[in-house]
């Protein structure tokens, strides 16, 4: 018997439950099956993962002083030293985000541009939200192949949408890291259970899962027909919205179809994680674990993990930092606060290290999973106290199929982060000549 945990909203004393999601044990049986499948694949695919941390890291606690090989690990980065041979750290990049204070940090992270809108009231109230297609999506185009999920977007925070909470910008800009197209943000799933069920289907017996999946497919199929008919009777602006809707229906259809094929090869029932974990540390662990599982089982080859949104109100009480991440990042050079700021960064490096360790210990083709992956861990700013957009923490880890040499500290001399994005795209085989505000390709 698996337990569905729910946070009781502080809002109401009368809280309703979403019925009860069925859950029966099954994951243990599945992992070997998944692994076997990915090991027999003719050639190991390229995997790409992005982890975004808001509010930056104080540069002195992060960037090595020595460039090139065998650089020294500063305290915050220390926990990932064991991966030195497959690790590249870059300093002196410049994140190009316009007038915004926080929103640009995350919204420019993967497209090198930032919000393609101005503050509310000065833009066109009728046009769709607009940003720029992000790197992860270019890479997904290239590497997704027949994986059930083209890409996975996860996070840990469900941000409010109150005016003022988003610095006058559309809140969507704060909440998403990945954009499928210029007008199509991909929201994050914060509930591990939802992510899990998207990866493996509803919990329950094999028979139940297949029945639900079949029913989903019929429902989607029928939705397509009805929506297409409705679309025909509408004006152009409405058509554009329904086109997006239809295209998403088709994506889910494709996803379910590919999942169905996989499901037949699986035996047993995976054990789903509980809903929203109570402890942030558990939330971090289970999210990383699922990304590991997705790569391992070749369910997806691309993920973005938004640890928090800018400027996060997450408290790190469990490691002795009861203040919010954002308020600590405005440390005012107070040594006590700087120490706590470093503590948060270090904690995140520990979690990243745990993930890398699991990936490295996973056999994949002729090597391990880390050999065939590239992970980009970073933030959109360096010193949060100044919202400093130069010198953001930028960490690349993974063998990338031998396409990236590790053990290096690269000094980028104020090159825009877009130059790095272009270089990452090229490693993954994306054929573009310019990316966002790129002025060239960072020599990786």
């Amino acid at each position: 018997m698996i337990i569905t945990k729910k946070h009781l909203s502080r809002r109401t004393f009368l809280q309703s439950s979403f019925g009860a999601a069925v859950a029966l044990p099954f994951l243990d049986a599945m992992v070997p099956a998944l692994t076997a499948q990915s090991q027999t694949a003719a050639a190991s695919p390229f995997r790409f993962g992005v982890i975004y941390m808001p509010c930056g890291v104080y540069p002195e606690t992060w960037h090595p002083t020595q460039d090139g090989a065998n650089f020294e690990f500063k305290p915050v980065m220390q926990p990932v030293e064991p991966f030195r041979d497959q690790l590249v750290t870059i300093s002196k990049l410049k994140a190009p985000w316009g007038e915004s204070v926080h929103v640009g940090a995350s919204s420019a992270f993967l497209n090198g541009v930032g919000p393609d809108v101005s503050r509310a009231g000065t833009g066109d109230a009728f046009n769709q939200l607009r940003s720029k297609k992000t790197l992860d999506q270019y890479i997904a185009d290239k590497v997704a192949g027949d994986t059930p999920m083209r890409s996975i977007e996860v996070g840990t925070e469900d941000m409010g949408t109150a005016a003022g909470a988003c610095d006058g910008f559309p809140c969507t800009m704060f909440e998403t890291l990945a954009w499928r197209e210029d007008t199509r943000p991909l929201p994050v799933s914060i509930n591990p259970r939802v992510t899990f069920e998207r990866m493996f289907g509803e919990n329950g017996s094999q028979q139940f899962r297949l029945a639900r999946l079949k029913e989903k497919q019929s429902l989607l199929d029928s939705m397509t027909a009805e929506t297409a008919k409705l679309r025909g009777s509408l004006g152009a602006p409405d058509k554009a919205i329904l086109d997006e809707y239809l295209s998403n229906i088709r994506q889910v259809e494709g996803q379910l179809e590919r999942m169905e094929t996989r499901m037949n090869t699986l035996t047993g029932n995976p054990e789903a994680p509980i809903g929203l974990p109570e402890a942030f540390d558990d939330h971090m662990t289970v999210t990383y674990d699922m990304m590991h599982l997705a790569l391992q089982g070749d369910i997806s080859r691309v993920f973005t993990f938004m640890i928090g949104h800018e400027p996060t109100d997450r408290s790190y009480a469990h490691i002795g930092v009861p203040e919010t991440h954002h308020s600590i990042s405005h440390h005012g050079n107070d040594p006590e606060k700087l120490a706590k700021y470093a503590k948060i960064g270090t904690y995140q490096m520990v979690k990243f290290g745990e993930f890398l360790e699991k990936v490295k210990n996973t056999k994949d083709g002729d090597g391990n999973l880390l050999d065939h992956s590239l992970f980009y861990w970073g933030s959109g700013m360096s010193n949060g106290n100044l919202h400093d957009r130069s010198n953001p923490p930028t960490l690349l880890v993974g063998g990338a199929h031998g396409r990236m040499k590790g053990n290096r500290h690269i000094v980028a001399h104020e090159e825009p982060t877009a130059n790095l994005l272009l270089a990452l795209g090229h490693i993954a085989g994306v054929e573009v000549e310019k990316f966002g505000a790129s002025t060239g390709r960072l020599d990786l």
Binding site: M1, T4, K5, K6, H7, L8, R10, L14, Q15, S16, S17, F18, G19, A20, E99, S100, V101, A120, A125, F126, N127, Q128, L129, M159, G160, T161, A162, A163, G164, A165, D167, P170, E175, T176, P185, L186, P187, S189, R193, K216, L219, L220, S222, A225, E226, S233, G235, A236, P237, I241, Y245, Q251, P322, E323, T324, H330, G332, K337, L386, D388
Partner: protein, 839 residues
Amino acid sequence: MAWAAAALLGAQAPTSQQRAQAPTSKPAPVPTRAVAAPAQAPAVAADKATVDKQKAWVKQYCVTCHNTRNPLPANDPVNLETASLDDLTKDAATWERVLRKLNVRAMPPQGMPHPTEASYTDFTGWLTTSLDRGWQGKAIPGRYVVHRLNRAEYRNAVRDLLALDVDVSSLLPNDGGNFGFDNIATALNTSPLLLDGYVTAAQRISTLAIGDPKVAPTTAEFLIPRNLSQNQRMEGLPLGTRGGRVVRHVFPADAEYKLMGRLYRGIEEGYTGIEGNDKPNTFIITIDGEEVYKAELGGPEDHAAQAKSMNDIRPIIDARMTATVKVTAGPHDVGFTFKERPGEKQDVWVPSVRDSQEFHFTGGLPKLKTVGIEGPYKVTGVSATPSRERVFICTPKAAAEEATCAQRILLNVAKRAYRRPVTAADVEAPIAFYNDARKSGESFDAGIRVALARVLVSPYFLYRVERDPAGLRAGASRQVSDVELASRLSFFLWSSIPDQRLMDLASAGGLRAPGVLAAQVTRMLADPRSNALVSNFTGQWLQLRNLESKVQPDILMFPDFDDNIREGFRTETEMLFGYILRQKRSAMELLSADYTFVNERLARHYGIPGVYGTRFQQVKLTDPNRFGLLGHGSILSLTSVATRTSPVYRGKYVLTTFLNTPPPPPLPNVPTLEESNKENAPKTVREQLERHRTPVVCASCHRVIDPPGFALEHFNSVGQWRAKTENGATIDSAGVLADGSKVDGPVALRTAILARPDAFASVLTERLMTYALGRGIEPSDMPVIRAIVRKASLDNYRLSSLVQGIIDSAPFQMRTKLEPAGNSTTVARATATASVEQP
């Protein structure tokens, strides 16, 4: 027939009766109840002399700073050297921004040459009238696109459709948002994650609504936050109880269920014993208020057992707190609580009102950590539930009746779900699902279940769709039909689908008959469903939704602050807004109310005597500092940080929320308060702020931002009045606002804001209108907003008048057929010559 678009700008759209009476091509009669038209000022033709005079005014007072060479403010520049006064609509956004500043006399800055009051009035009057005239015939009254239901609307729609209240927030992603709200049509994107969520939700909701005797047992567990004190009676639980929680759970079948309470153990669970276990306590479980289970906990015996082995006692207590109870299908309120121990003083030291500090409970009482419901076991069937009653309007007595009954059921559901009359064609797809299920041997109920799932994923349910009549040309506007208007109304006032009464009225075409619409608005606001408007609007406009994430007072400095107070803050502000709205009181009372809504706990927090019990009640305030929103703990805590108040946040909040003059964003790479210099540490936040009001770059903004914040300095970061700061420093709340008025506290600040009621009514109307229309406000909407405010000003600025004004306005009543490209300038141009056509 055609109506001049200009006549409708801001005016009430014609009623259907007037429509019916005017089949000939006579011009529209002036609508009887429509006062909301722009004021007809004497002809101020754009004669050159007048315009030149105004140009000189702008040059004299504005262009020194807002020029081409150096358009201030640097981070959000305004150039008034190039902005055209000849063609105002061209730079309307800029001029509206100018008006907002001038209307509250926030420009020119203090210290710069100021016009006389008469000269101010002359310029703003001319600018307002000219802008209003400039838009006549050019505005696009009704720009709407298909509008996806957001998470809150989806949940409410399911509740009203199926009598089933389910929390979909875990299944559907955050909707994002724009213009400060999450119901903005153009920001309600779709994604694979969302679509997957819709389909899954439809499967689960339909299963819950119909019930399922074959459903496998599951467990739902609810966590109770540690920060919620449980040392008093909790809302929704019977009198004579203490602590615990009520959950509304939908039971899938008539069966046995295990109901479980689990206690907090202490020291973050590393300590497996139970605090407060030395005294006896009675744990009880209630269903719909009736006690169904009772167990004794604690006391000498348990305490001795715990002293022997903390690990051993745990499963014993857990078993005693687990009941097996027969429950019928459908939603039930399940309460888990303790019997009160009246009259018994605690024998432990109680240092604070809240019942726990970081690791220890200080109340000496056991506290529930989770409650759970597991089942069903030994299913006996699925008896009548509110959802089944709603769905099964017929029951087939024989196989031959099944098809007809299924059709009836689905037509009935679809009509409510799609918010319009439906035909057999609308339910073809659901019927096909029903038939497939029946053919494959499923029961009648199971067939209805899957057909219902199909209705829930229809684009007609998930989207608000309005269709342009055939033959209407691009750019032309029409009055929406009564049925379309019914949906606009219900999504504005209820965040949900129309009810039967509204639909009946609309289907009969009677919604716009004289007096009917206003009566419906009154009825709908009186209905509890309008709580959605109160909480969704205040949650976003006043940012109450951030109370959970942003308000994290330091536990050592504010040991009494807990979730009960946090929840109380929200309730207080929502109740004030709801009261003013429903009792048709002046919107100005939001700031000036000499009454508020508190329970005992919150009253004690504020120092208001004579309030007892957990129920919130209206109390008369004697201290004028506490009047209105500026004295609400919600707003005062939202604008503070963990260890101190933030005059900057408070100032920015007041300027943005109440005065509509948000300060420009901070420049990048500018540090915030330096708190590092410990030897020379400033004693107060004010001293700190004075320091960076010295450099010119900071001062230009902070001398405007900080004073409203300083005025509130006597309120600490959890909204309590304080004579001195926490470190004993004297508080100086004096300051000068942007308009030059001297303020020295909440009363003076409130007086200064309310001295310009139109400005406050304007910002409120702009925000309400954004929420009502689900789109951003364009400069071309401003004449309408001014007309609404002007009309409400004759009626004591009643909040309900603002709401009614919005509902009567052209943007709410009309729909414009958009140009193919969806490009607003194209449409604006097309509409310049367009007429408004009847459907």
